[in-house]
Symmetry: C2
Subunit: 206 residues, 2 copies
């Protein structure tokens, strides 16, 4: 079995779906976590990395997750499903521009009125469009997963971000679409072989 | 052979690498172009789409290109090369946030001083970081391609965006790194089976 070393900050972030793929497939890996405080790098500049067998590195989180998903059987069952998993992750990446704008504004300690402006004018419209797409996909798929009839890495990426959105109080209790997505997240989070990991992991803000 | 229908606005944009993959592989396809003026959709809201055999659709440009690249043999020669092509395209997507911010500001007719502020404070730092990464990859690879020893879809995506950056006057004549990337772009653009397409295509701004 190849030796895997995953390097990321001590956060869930974009490393979390990769970590979940290791847990789901019972694959040992070296989970190297760079303490935020010890690093001169800012979170924005983080370069995540997967090293395989000490031989080659793969940068960029989505590429890392896709690589592991294909190896471990979570990339989709055929070329059509693989393309849909890819497309859903791209949709999330589009949304994550607005998500990061909000997170970075808060981290940078911007004034509250500026953060609220970003929340209502940039973040919420982007979230609403993204949630509508996710809901539409889930409504059409009786399996309860985003792609086909089984768990893919797209579910891991999306569910973990929904978890961050809950922590950010960006999912409303009185909004049916938001509640459907919350239930979807709980369904993915209760996947056997994932529950133990989720119960014991460091549950960072993002 | 499957029937392909690619729907996009009458632009190069993110459809261009997909069109180039059809040309490189001599695969007939239906190149459906929605006139910008006739559409109520704004460019920002465009949903690009590939339909295969009238049976299924694939949304999201990168997912479409990856799907076609794998079909036609331009995704990389092994799992490591595929992951690197993916990672390079993700790097471009990260940069494209700043690229789009500049393009949309100009399209929205924002005042010149605001556009210049975006150019110098948002666009240029992002471009410089991105160019450094591209140059580093090309310097280490004697083949002249970004991945392995042959053309991949990552080259098509990156070269076509470099072409847009030249048009935007975002590549400086007196900067060696910029000039290296310009030469790289010209090398990719002179690929047999691509030259005819490039000479006759609609060469839109982006």
């Amino acid at each position: 079995m190849p030796q895997y070393k995953l390097t990321y900050f001590d956060l869930r972030g974009w490393a979390e779906p990769a970590r979940q793929l290791f847990h789901l497939s019972h694959t040992p890996y070296d989970d190297v976590r760079i303490p935020m405080a010890d690093s001169e790098k800012s979170w924005e500049k983080l370069k995540d990395l997967l090293n395989v067998d000490g031989k080659f590195d793969i940068p960029q989180s989505a590429a890392i997750c896709r690589f592991l998903a294909r190896k471990f059987g979570y990339a989709g069952k055929n070329e059509q499903e693989e393309a849909w998993a890819d497309a859903i992750v791209d949709q999330y990446k589009d949304f994550s521009v607005a998500f990061k704008t909000l997170i970075f504004a808060a981290r940078a300690g911007k004034p509250q009125d500026e953060i609220l402006k970003i929340r209502y004018e940039i973040f919420n419209p982007s979230r609403d469009a993204y949630f509508e797409i996710l809901n539409g996909i889930l409504e059409k798929n009786p399996s309860g997963y985003l792609v086909g009839d089984g768990l893919t890495w797209a579910d891991l990426v999306i569910a973990d971000n929904l978890h961050s959105l809950e922590k950010l109080k960006a999912m409303d209790d009185d909004n049916e679409m938001h509640q459907n997505l919350k239930k979807y997240k709980e369904r993915i989070y209760s996947t056997p072989d994932l529950e133990d990991h989720i119960a014991t992991r460091l549950d960072s803000e993002v």
